[in-house]
Amino acid sequence: MRDKKLRNFHEAKWDEPIIFELSTKGQRGILLPEVEKDLEKEFGELENLIPENLKRKKKPELPELAQPQVLRHFLRLSQETLGQDINIDIGLGTCTMKYSPKINEQFVRNPKFSELHPLQDEETTQGILKIIYEFEEIMKEISGMDSFSFQPGGGGQAIYSNAAIIKKYHEDQGEGEKRNEIITTLLSHPLNAAAPHTKGFKVINLMPNETGYPSIEDLKEVVSEKTAGIFITNPEDTGIYNPIVKEFVDIVHEAGGLCVYDMADYNGLFGIARAKEANIDLCHFNLHKAFSSPHGSMGPACGAQGVTKELEKYLPVPRVDYDGEKYYLNYDKPNSIGKLRKFYGVIAVVLRAYAYVHTLGEKGLKEVAEISVLNSNYLIKRMLKEVKGISAPWGNKDEYRTEQVRFSWEKLYKDTGVNTDDIDRRGTDYGLQGYFQSHHPMIIPEPFTPEPNETYSKDEIDEYVEIFKKISEEAYENPELVKTAPHNAPISYLNQPIIDDPKDLIVTWRVYKKKKGIK
């Protein structure tokens, strides 16, 4: 209607004190019931109930505020946060910041779910057990794997769990000592290196070549009888699909290793390609990404871990089983790796994902894949065509990327001295959440990894492109403006210190006060 390409934005800025600064001695945010008179009579003073040496000598120095002020404080902080709901959250590539349907929040907030204790008699939890059971069926179909656990509390824990299964598997084969190497690719998410390492493996990182993925030769070079397995993210963060993944799998299998797919970034592949067809042994999905659970300021989350029939017995306990009459939690799995988490897992995320799949169905999920890849390529096309100083290294220029892409601002940086950090901060002046650059090590210079998933409209993607067109222009015309950004955020530029010395660390208000000599 009105022809406006860029919005005149300012994020809410409340200049809000730290909660401790708002404290007034004596104020109460909430009261508890008084102790029932009979109980007081029965036991006398509270002191009688605590061993002398365990009495808290000094009450915790928590702030004291009345209820409206606590609420107001955190509401203001919420306004100073750009969640997916409120911004065009395309920048956080590899995170699939998609719309989390509000109806699903009603489900998880229903007391019929929120007030369930995990140890309740199964008679009273048939509804939720059935949902878990049926969702496992759904995930099996989507991935082609034979069995799933939803116990991992995030993608990282699922990768870890996969590493644990690999370890156990080789131990059962009598090769526990020998097979102590895990291969992964440098562009795979860092957790594909870190989690196996935490599980005790030596990790080998394969470098990509100009195709965006490593060559078969590179792989062959590192595969050996020490190889326990390989962890591959496909597509990798660059949005380049590794078409020779099957060859990778064959090579590792031949060497006696197991193959793991990191399908956290599955959003562009629903109904298109699965783990099964690549002959994968273990995989995981991030239900808080492709399956739409909100990211919750960094969790709670769920990593759905899928394995083949052969490996099923290793999955964490409990599993949800069905005896023909009722659903129950089965702890009787002697080969299981055990437990990663108390009870079952973050079932709230499973519940949302279950609702999500049910409302989309097969066609809808395929539409998710198609539109997310279409959106991504549309964005790439416009960016490369219209934004000065940006490029998309690697890959075959004739081919489409999947649902995300890793750009580089290398040229812009060389031309103007404005780097990806500066651009990132400047984005906030136009209403964007800080973007994801790249995992470490940053082998693509001045990286920027957007992922315009299917829940953004063409208009929004267009606005997004316009913003970076504008910032690029600014970088060429007025680099200082970009370098000193943000100007419309809740706080201004901090001179970007990097705190790397433990002595400079201030993660508690009490430390700040100590450092400042404040009582």
Partner: protein, 462 residues
């Protein structure tokens, strides 16, 4: 009716828009976008998934009818605890964690998500006061994960592999530790059958210069307060081992903070602090340690450090990132992924609402009602309260061996009365016979206990 659905969650599923965009990218159809995926990797045919409930009306009816098959602790009187707790959740906690902005933010940082970063800094600051320590990491997956990480920290700090902990640890936590610390040697220490406290003689016997840490829970899994905590810490330190204490944060308004009886690393379950149970979805892990370089460098979770610029503005930056696997891949200390940010923020709201007095009243009320329950139950014919000599916080064990009945039977009968009886321990601790772990919270009323006693009495004695 329409065959082609335009999906409410997929704006560009409008045919005309899709066509326009396909043109822009030079593809004749959507299939072409996937041409880089070789045929042999493709799914043949289409997925066999349940029929779509595309309307919100149908979806809501479908899911709600499933949820209605559950009976919740809102409808029943609940005495289950054992690691997940039915505490009261203040409305303001729900309000804040339901805010779109917090609910749907992720890893955005310092500038765009200043508010989130501040809330997280406040979380660590508030936990710092609660546990009386200077360094707190962002919340972990759950209390068990924090325990595992604390123990691994001890390994990294001491280079030793032996872990000493009490026999009365829960099987759930034990399984977690067995898994996460499988390269270490976990040795169990006896506990006193009258008080539930750790057997110091056994501890002294087993501790050595191989011991990385002594790990205690206070209160213990079986509900007892560990009165010898300070001595245990001293013994640990005398042997060069770390002293790790797992706490119940709901006790810390009245029970001493572990740092004040010698803890080097504190862990614990966050869920009691304003988070709904959600069948276990509400768990999170507390992790805090001494403000010393080696501890800091070995803590694997995010630190949001305060930084003040020359305008006097505060900002919050993820700091000392080289420790983390995000930054250093396999060279990071342990792996680090998405944990439970929303619960950290929720706990911050909770502690801000409660303040020192609220936490005091919380502990106070639990202590009174817990002791009342313990005393009343002990008076039932056929019920024997375990660890009678010890003090409890919110949980305690009853044994019904004398009644000739099993906990399973009893609990089934309680269920008919809309009561969730205590957790059956008979499989978990064979030595305890037919025992159950009962839990109260500040929501439990005297009349709930009286009703329980009446029903239990009926079940056991008629």
């Amino acid at each position: 009716m329409n065959k082609k659905i335009t999906y409410p969650y997929i704006p560009n599923s409008v045919e005309e828009v899709k066509k326009e965009m396909l043109e822009e990218v030079g593809a004749k159809d959507a299939a072409e976008l996937f041409k880089s995926i070789p045929e042999h990797l493709r799914i043949k045919g289409s997925l066999n998934l349940p029929k779509a409930k595309v309307s919100e009306i149908e979806l809501k009816e479908f899911i709600q009818s499933k949820l209605n098959e559950n009976q919740s602790c809102e409808e029943y009187t609940n005495f289950l605890g054992a690691g997940c707790y039915d505490h009261y959740v203040p409305a303001v906690c729900d309000e804040i964690n339901g805010r779109s902005e917090f609910l749907t933010a992720y890893c955005g940082e310092t500038y765009s998500d200043h508010g989130k970063c501040q809330a997280i800094f406040e979380y660590t600051s508030l936990i710092g006061e609660l546990v009386d320590m200077d360094v707190v990491g962002l919340a972990t997956y759950d209390g068990g994960q924090s325990a595992g990480t604390a123990i691994r920290m001890a390994y990294r700090l001491t280079g030793r592999k032996e872990v000493l902990l009490s026999e009365n640890i829960s099987s759930q936590l034990m399984m977690q530790l067995n898994e996460y610390c499988d390269f270490m040697d976990i040795v169990k220490i006896k506990y006193d059958k009258t008080t539930g406290n750790m057997d110091l003689n056994d501890l002294k016997e087993k501790i050595s210069d191989k011991t990385a840490c002594v790990f205690i829970e206070n209160p213990s899994y079986l509900g007892t307060l560990e009165e010898k905590a300070e001595e245990i810490g001293t013994i640990a330190k005398e042997n060069g081992a770390e002293f790790i204490v797992s706490v119940d944060p709901s006790s810390l308004g009245v029970i001493e903070a572990p740092s004040n009886y010698g803890a080097d690393i504190v862990c614990g379950e966050l869920q009691p602090l304003g988070i709904h149970m959600g069948y276990g979805s509400g768990l999170g892990g507390i992790l805090a340690c001494r403000d010393e370089e080696e501890y800091i460098m070995n803590l694997p979770n995010h630190f949001y450090s305060l930084y003040e610029n020359n305008k006097g503005e505060f900002g919050f930056l993820r700091s000392i990132n080289s420790r983390t696997s995000y930054h250093s891949r396999e060279k990071g200390v342990e792996y680090l992924g998405t944990n439970v940010g929303l619960w950290a923020i929720t706990a911050a709201v909770y502690l801000s609402l409660m303040g020192p007095e609220g936490m005091y009243e919380l502990g106070r009320n639990i202590l009174y009602i817990g002791n009342y329950a313990k005393r009343k139950l002990s008076q039932i014919n056929g019920v024997d309260v375990k660890f009678k000599e010890g003090n409890i916080f919110k949980e305690f064990v009853i044994n019904i061996d004398n009644s000739g009945k099993t906990i399973e039977e009893v609990n089934k009968k309680l269920l008919d009365k809309k009561i969730f009886g205590g957790k059956d321990l008979s499989n978990e601790f064979e030595s305890l016979g037919q025992s159950a772990l009962y839990c109260v919270t500040e929501k439990t009323k005297k009349e709930d206990i009286d009703k329980l006693v009446e029903e239990l009495d009926l079940i056991l004695n008629s």
